[in-house]
Structure formats: C-alpha cells, structure tokens
Amino acid sequence: MGRVLGLGAAKEGVHHWWTQRLTSVALVPLTIWFVVSLLALPVLDHATVCAWMRQTWTALLLIIFVVVAAWHSQLGVRVVIEDYVHALAPRTLTLLLVTFAHVAVAVAGVFAVLRVALGAAP
C-alpha cells in the first residue's frame, strides 16, 4: 500500500526535502533584498511604505517573498512537530492547525500587498 501511495524511498519522500532546499535557495536573495530595501527606506510612515509597495518590482518580490517564506516555514515547523509531538491525535491536530495558519498568513500577506499595490487600500 505504501508503494502504491508513493510513500517508498525517493518518491513522495524526497518531495519535502527537495522543496525545503528549493525554498531555502530562493529565500537567500529574497530575504537579503527585503532587509536591504526596508532599511533603505527614508522613513517607515504610512505614505512612504505605501509608495514603496506600489512599485511593481517591490510588490512582485514582496508577494514572492511572503509566499516562499510561509512555504519554507510550514516545511520547517512540520518537521519540528513531527519530531517532538509523538502521540498521533495531538500531532495530526497540530500539523493541521499549523498548515492552516501558514496558508492564512501567506494569503493575508499577498492580499495586503495587492491591496496597496493596486491602489485599493484606504
């Protein structure tokens, strides 16, 4: 059954490992870009931040950054839970909640950036 479901070695098993590497490689330039451009802003008041987020490249990179960071975070937190929460029911429940939370965080981040970038923010 495990073989049918692709749970055997190097089928689904490598997917988590590979995605974690993929997202970590992407996050190296993305996080550096984020930190540098945030520190480069003259002030962090509402008008300045909005003007920054309305730039096409900023909006694009911010969206990619939030999604990839949430993805990488979900993969990492999942491993921590799998390693330290042993009982099946609490583990499944925690994994479920953590995954939902990560999807919510990613969607909220993308929504917020789009709202400002497309000029829909109040």
Binding site: S24, M53, V66, S73, V80, V105, A121
Partner: protein, 131 residues
C-alpha cells in the same frame, strides 16, 4: 509510539556538543523567524488597512520592548541564513569532513554575529533618520 520498527534513537548517535548546538539553534531561529513572518504580515495588513490602522499598529510596533524583539529577529535571521547556506553546501556534498564541519560551525557563529551587528547598525541608523 507506533509498534513498527523505527530508525535508531538519538542516543545511539555520538554527537559532539557543537553539532547539537548548531543544529538546535538552527531550529530555534527558524521557529523565531516563523513568528517574525507573523509580525511581518500583521504589519503588511496594517499598511493595507489605511493610515489610521497603520498608526495603531505602529504604536504597538514601536514600543521599547519591540526593539529587543527586532534584535532577536535580526540575530535569528543572520544565524538561520548563514547556517542554512552551510546546510546547502553540505547538500552539494562538500565540506562534510569532521575538521571542515568543526571549522564551518565556528565560521557560522562568527559570520552570523558580524551580520547581526551589521543589520542592527543599519536599523539603528535608519531609526535615527525616522523622526
């Protein structure tokens, strides 16, 4: 615990202290950064909700205590970035020898501290510019 055979337990591995420390610190900083992501999205949502909402969030985010949180996040970011690159080098099959690994562990500590100092200085200078 499941009754099926499991991979050997931690106790059978002979791990030296620095291996354990760098590994667990990578996990802890990763978890801290997950919390940081929550903070980032909270800030983005506040920006997207208008000037009044942003002002309310800014009051919370500029509390003196938050400076400590930001410093912790900068440290977590610096360490997780450098340690993550070390992991990527390992994944490429390089620097896996014990002496190399011991040396790279120290390199990670030193580089992440330098990076922390650099970013903290940058944030401090940015803070001076902000009225």
């Amino acid at each position: 615990m499941p009754t099926r055979p499991l991979s050997p337990h931690l106790s059978v591995y002979q791990m030296s202290r620095y291996t354990l420390a760098t590994s667990i610190f990578n996990r802890l900083t990763g978890l801290a950064l997950s919390a940081g992501l929550l903070l980032l999205v909270y800030w983005l949502m506040a920006v997207a909700s208008g000037a009044a909402a942003h002002a309310r969030a800014a009051r919370l985010l500029s509390l003196p205590l938050m400076k400590l949180v930001y410093l912790a996040l900068i440290l977590a970011f610096s360490y997780h970035l450098v340690a993550g690159i070390r992991h990527l080098v390992w994944d490429s099959g390089h620097a896996l020898e014990r002496t190399q690994s011991r040396r790279s562990a120290w390199l990670v500590v030193v580089l992440s501290l330098i990076l922390t100092f650099g970013i903290a200085c940058g944030a401090w200078l940015a803070g001076i510019r902000t009225p």
